[in-house]
């Protein structure tokens, strides 16, 4: 296999599967179940994960791969995110197979969009060329814009979609402007040459502004304060499995871009962007947690929690280079496991109708659905950060990294915030484990959990637990993941 094809393997698999899904969609007669397409999509995401694993073997043997004139760089860093994205997509697809009630509306398109979105996210993580990153960002954004509005016919859904679209485009413009400015400052849009260019530029004002712009654009994508305003509304309106996906995978990809860009592209400007990161981190943690305290809608509550978690993740950036990358990667993975799990439970409880919405609706859930309640409780405990869950080690890793690097006050703010956070997680947890009231979940018909969804739930729960008990496995992988600049410095087109 040529290097070029090998470097694109997971993306290629996903693209082909997506196209296949769309080609087969009209073949299935109207009114028939679209589940086979879902299974096809699941197979595709599984294969793409395997492809990423195959890449890892190759990289282990031969070292970093570059392809397409140094546009794509396959190293442990990008493979880690490929695996993560493939896993999130796989679990989301498993969880959404039975989410749509019959007659299924645009189910084929749903599966295809999830797959195409994943292609975009993967390109974001493996690309060292900012133009390519931008295209990946657009693919993933457009897919999620549409997916957010998939509960068509419900006013909240269309509002969710249109808000996300308009504000997202606005933020993308910042990113693009940042890329243009960095090109103006260094004469390149490729990570390696940018670093090389900055090393010889003597007045980097333009570059600093460019970094700020890129940070704004990506800050929106990861819903860091003060660019978080869209998050609660969009999460509230979007279908639960989609929220699970879009609160983790595109964020992971955006964090990957940020890590590569800041630590490999603009390490010269570390002194400038570190303060911005700190401000964003503190604002996200505080606004996210404070905002969540008064929420009644569970999805909005989790939306604010995801803002706070973006803040914890940004704290990771204040560690030393290797600590920052490893901490951020680890946290992304644990957050993905527990958050996707939590939203899977939500989606399984009441299905497409999403009748179980507010905290009051959850009152007494434990009596009716002990298993699901225990699972949701477990994910909430992990979000709080109780030991033996991935959430604890994520936070521990991130905060100890920040403190070791001298950011004591950031650690204090973060820990205080994680203390405040347990207020609202416990509110939900306490509601689940209390006496049912007349209008609560006890009187709403609950769906049976189907086999694929059960597999998905088990996978997320095991991942959350595994990351808490044996974090070392992942730590080793992410510590190797610190991206290197060596390959990208080669400015001349590589001979293919």
């Amino acid at each position: 296999m040529s290097t070029n094809l090998l470097a694109l393997l997971p993306e290629l698999v996903l693209t082909i599967t997506g196209v296949l899904v769309m080609v087969l969609e009209p073949v299935i007669p109207a009114g028939k179940s679209r589940k086979p397409l879902g299974w096809l999509a699941i197979l595709g995401s599984l294969l793409s994960g395997l492809a990423a694993f195959y890449q890892l073997q190759i990289v282990n043997a031969q070292g970093t791969l570059t392809a397409f004139y140094s546009t794509i760089q396959i190293d442990p860093f990008s493979i880690f995110f490929h695996l993560l994205i493939a896993a999130v997509v796989l679990v989301t697809l498993l969880g959404s197979l039975d989410y749509f009630e019959s007659p299924i509306t645009h189910a084929g398109e749903y599966f295809a969009l999830v797959l195409f979105g994943a292609v975009g996210m993967m390109f974001m993580t493996s690309s060292v060329e900012l133009l390519m990153v931008f295209i990946g960002l657009e693919i993933s954004s457009i897919s999620t814009y549409i997916l957010a509005g998939f509960r068509k016919g419900r006013a909240t859904a269309s509002e969710s979609s249109i808000k996300y679209f308009l504000l997202g485009s606005f933020a993308t413009a910042f990113f693009l402007y940042g890329v243009a400015l960095i090109y103006g400052a260094t004469g390149s849009t490729s990570i390696g040459p940018i670093a090389a260019g900055l090393a010889i530029t003597r007045t980097p004002t333009m570059a600093i502004l460019a970094v700020a712009m890129v940070l704004i654009g990506l800050g929106f994508k990861v819903s860091a304060a003060p660019f978080h305003v869209w998050t609660p509304d969009v999460y509230q309106g979007a279908p639960a499995p989609v929220v699970g996906l879009m609160s983790t995978a595109p964020k992971a990809a955006a964090f990957a871009v940020l890590l590569r860009f800041l630590f490999n592209g603009t390490p010269m400007l570390h002194g400038h962007w570190i303060l911005l990161i700190e401000i964003l981190a503190v604002a996200s943690m505080c606004l996210g947690n404070l905002g969540a305290l008064k929420q009644h809608d569970v999805k909005r509550l989790l939306a604010y929690s995801s803002i706070a978690h973006a803040g914890y993740l940004l704290v990771a950036f204040t560690g030393t280079h290797q600590n920052a990358v490893a901490g951020a990667c680890f946290y992304t993975a644990t957050y993905a496991a527990m958050n996707v799990g939590a939203f899977l439970v939500l989606s399984q409880l009441s299905g497409f109708s999403e009748r179980i919405r507010s905290i009051e609706d959850f009152t007494g859930l434990a009596l009716k659905r002990p298993g699901m309640s225990a699972l949701l409780g477990f994910f909430l405990l992990s979000l709080i950060g109780i030991p033996f869950t991935g959430g604890f080690f994520g936070k521990f890793y991130v905060f100890s990294g920040a403190l070791q690097n001298g950011h004591v006050w950031l650690g204090i703010v973060g820990l205080a915030n994680s203390g405040v956070a347990c207020f609202y997680y416990l509110r939900l947890l306490a509601a689940i484990y209390s006496r049912p009231t007349s209008d609560s979940v006890a009187y709403i018909p609950v769906r049976k959990v189907t086999a694929p969804a059960a597999v998905a739930l088990a996978a997320t729960a095991l991942a959350t637990l595994g990351l808490g008990i044996l974090p070392n496995k992942l730590v080793h992988l992410v510590e190797r993941a610190t991206p290197t600049t060596t390959a990208a410095v080669a400015v001349q087109p590589t001979q293919q």
Binding site: E159, L167, A212, L215, P387, G411, A416, S418, G419, Y433
Partner: protein
């Protein structure tokens, strides 16, 4: 049912026991290592079995499994004692797995160690824990969710054992949080009862504040030592320039959370909403002493910071006094015991604060005996009365539930400091050490300690008299109460508890009486064996002042006088002139009301912390930051064009514009900061 469970026990234990004792002579280190692993793993196995299959198993099987997986660790601990006796050398067994976390900068092994301190804690936990398990079989016999209760109880045992076995701060913290979690589950066991659910929540949240300190201390340790391993940290402590005062104060904050000290003691009295065996095991004998254990474990660090030690001593003394004063006016029998626990924990904290760590641990042990006994006996009283906890509705019970009465009396006399019972020796040791510490703080702590001893004696005898003596206020045929499960057998009036409940009471009563023997000070002709036993672990730092035995006896006399005074006062107020207490309460209305409302601490906390947080949250939301989704028109829209029209309408609702405005402002702020710092 119970026989069956013993059958199970015998079936499994005897082969196991043979294995244990047969290999005594020729054991290798390998075996001991495996033994250490087994100690926490066994209760965890019990938790897994009962947690997954318990729902379908009969109650006998559930209790058999729970008991089996609790008695085995106790046997292993006994085996450890034998090893210690055989070796004679200082004990230091270690079981290390492969590295648990190895991050650049620091690494932690998943490792257990047993030294003398751990061995004492292990014995308390497994021994008292096993007794309470047995008791629970009877106490919980008619409860819903029997299996759930025992699963949680075994889970608690697992985490508690991990806590004391761990050889690093991180693993200790895992156990620390784990016991908190198990306690949360058990307090909220009656989760359909709102007060129980709220109490669980409160315990959890208050403990998180303590954890904040603990975590921060750990991060500081990582930053200065690059390790969280006890050995590494303690052996380098003397030669490392680290902010020890900050670290110790943060650790102490963690300890105040778990061990219910000022300012974080508020959760413990509420935690009494849980079933009584839980109160006995978790909120008296084991979990709440974890803070004391942690401070004792870190004595090397604390000895380096006199400031932190003084703070710990003051916190302990203040808590002891404050909780004792509140305990004087409570009417709920379990609440009196709860405040008494807080007060006794204050003594232990005080002991650590004056550097008398082994005296603190000694009190941990005796307290485990008599307080577990008191709680279980109180549970037996409650059981007898069909769920009644209000002492005003008790009285004259000594003839009707004699075993409970006699065993509880042992507990009351032990905690009040009746000479030569267990509580007398341990409390005396603490007061003696405080007095002879040679510091102003020590003298101050001693004075408060003696006064608190008087209060303790008073409120314990108040409880004793009100429950067992005087006129009966029992409401007979009390058939309906919140303790629904007792309905079925509560209807035939007051009755003594079954043997499965009274047997543990009797064993604990014996321990409460003679348990102090191991620590008889030289002044009374003993050798203070307990302290010498702990010397290999806790010796460094504090030099024991060679005080004359005359001082010791004088101090003991003072404490005994305090005991007698408290007993006399209680007798006067509740037996000789039963009406007087109410008159005094009326005369001292402001003070009484202050105590009755527990100094309004809960209200102040609610107002100052919870209220202000919610206010900030409201302010944060009330801005344009969160305008929410436009209400109305939720539901199905008629057609596609309708949807599009609604979309365009929403675009103009001002909502998106204001969001975009916020985005733009945020961006402007970021850019402005960028240029500014440039």
């Amino acid at each position: 049912m119970f026989l069956l469970s013993f059958l199970y026990l015998l079936l499994f234990v005897i082969p196991e026991g043979n294995l244990l004792f047969a290999s005594r002579a020729t054991e290798s280190i390998m075996d001991n290592t495996n033994l250490l692993w087994l100690i926490p793993t066994l209760p965890f196995a019990g938790f897994l079995i009962n947690g997954t299959l318990g729902r379908k198993l009969p109650r006998a099987a559930v209790s058999a499994i729970a008991l089996l997986f609790t008695v085995l660790p106790a046997l292993i601990v006994a085996k450890l004692w034998l090893i210690l006796k055989a070796d004679g050398a200082p004990l230091a067994l270690q079981a290390v797995s492969r590295p648990w976390i190895a991050v650049s900068g620091f690494h932690v092994d998943f490792a257990f160690t047993v030294d003398h301190l751990t061995l004492i804690m292990l014995s308390i936990i497994t021994g008292v824990g096993f007794l309470i398990h047995i008791y629970s079989v009877g106490y919980m016999a008619y409860e819903e969710g029997f299996w759930r209760f025992f699963a949680y109880l075994n889970l608690f045992m697992f985490f508690m054992l991990v806590l004391v076995l761990s050889s690093s701060f991180l693993l200790l913290f895992v156990g620390w949080e784990g016991v908190g979690l198990a306690s949360y589950l058990l307090i909220g066991f009656y989760f359909t009862k709102d007060s129980a659910a709220n109490a669980g929540k409160k315990a959890f949240i208050v403990n998180r504040i303590g954890d904040f300190g603990f975590l921060l201390a750990m991060f500081l340790l990582i930053a200065h030592f690059g390790s969280l391993d006890f050995n590494t940290v303690f052996s380098h402590a003397a030669t490392t320039a680290a902010p020890f005062t900050a670290i110790c104060l943060l650790l102490a904050l963690g300890a105040t959370g778990k061990s219910a000290q000022i300012p974080l003691y508020v959760w413990l009295p509420d935690a009494m909403e849980g079933p009584t065996p839980v109160s006995a095991l978790i909120h008296a004998a084991t979990m709440v002493t974890a803070g004391i254990y942690m401070v004792a474990r870190c004595h090397v660090l604390f000895n380096l910071s006199p400031t932190a030690l003084a703070v710990v001593a003051c916190i302990g003394a203040a808590t002891a006094l404050l909780a004792a004063t509140i305990g004087m006016v409570q009417n709920d029998i379990k609440r009196v015991l709860a405040y008494s626990t807080v007060s006794q924990l204050g003594y232990m904290f005080m002991a650590c604060g004056v550097g008398a760590y082994s005296a603190g641990i000694f009190h941990v042990m005796t307290h485990a005996f008599f307080k577990a006994l008191l709680f279980l006996a109180a549970g037996s009283v409650i059981h007898a009365l069909g769920g009644e906890q209000d002492m005003r509705k008790m009285g004259a019970l000594r003839k009707r539930i004699p075993i409970t009465f006699w065993t509880m009396s042992a507990g009351v006399f032990a905690i009040a400091g009746f000479p030569f019972l267990s509580g007398f020796f341990s409390k005396d040791e603490i007061l003696f050490q405080a007095f002879t510490a040679g510091t102003a703080v020590g003298k101050f702590a001693w004075a408060i300690g003696v006064f608190t001893a008087f209060l303790t004696s008073f409120y314990m005898f108040r409880l004793w008299f009100k429950t067992f003596f005087g006129a009966s206020h029992v409401v007979e045929h009390n058939t309906h109460d919140h303790h629904a499960a007792h309905d079925s057998h509560g209807s035939h009036g007051v009755h003594e508890s079954p043997l499965v409940m009274t047997a543990p009471l009797m064993i604990l009563a014996v321990l409460a009486i003679i348990g102090g023997i191991v620590g008889v000070p030289t002044a009374f002709g003993g050798h203070n064996e307990f302290e010498h036993f702990l010397d290999p672990v806790l010796s460094s730092g504090h030099e024991v002042v060679a005080a004359s035995s005359g001082t010791a006896i004088a101090l003991s006399t003072v404490a005994t006088l305090a005991f007698a005074l408290g007993l006399g006062l209680a007798y006067q107020l509740y037996i000789r002139k039963p009406g007087t207490s109410r008159e005094i309460a009326k005369k001292l209305q402001p003070i009484y009301s202050l105590l009755d409302h527990k100094y309004w601490v809960d209200e102040v906390y609610n107002f100052a912390i919870v209220g202000s947080l919610l206010n900030v949250s409201r302010i944060a939301l009330s801005g344009i930051v969160d305008t929410g989704i436009v209400q109305g028109s939720i539901g199905l829209l008629s057609s596609g064009t309708g949807a599009l029209a609604s979309v365009t309408r929403r675009m103009q609702s001002g909502n998106i514009r204001s969001y975009a405005g916020w985005l733009a402002l945020g961006a402007a702020a970021v850019i402005a900061i960028t240029i500014f710092i440039h």
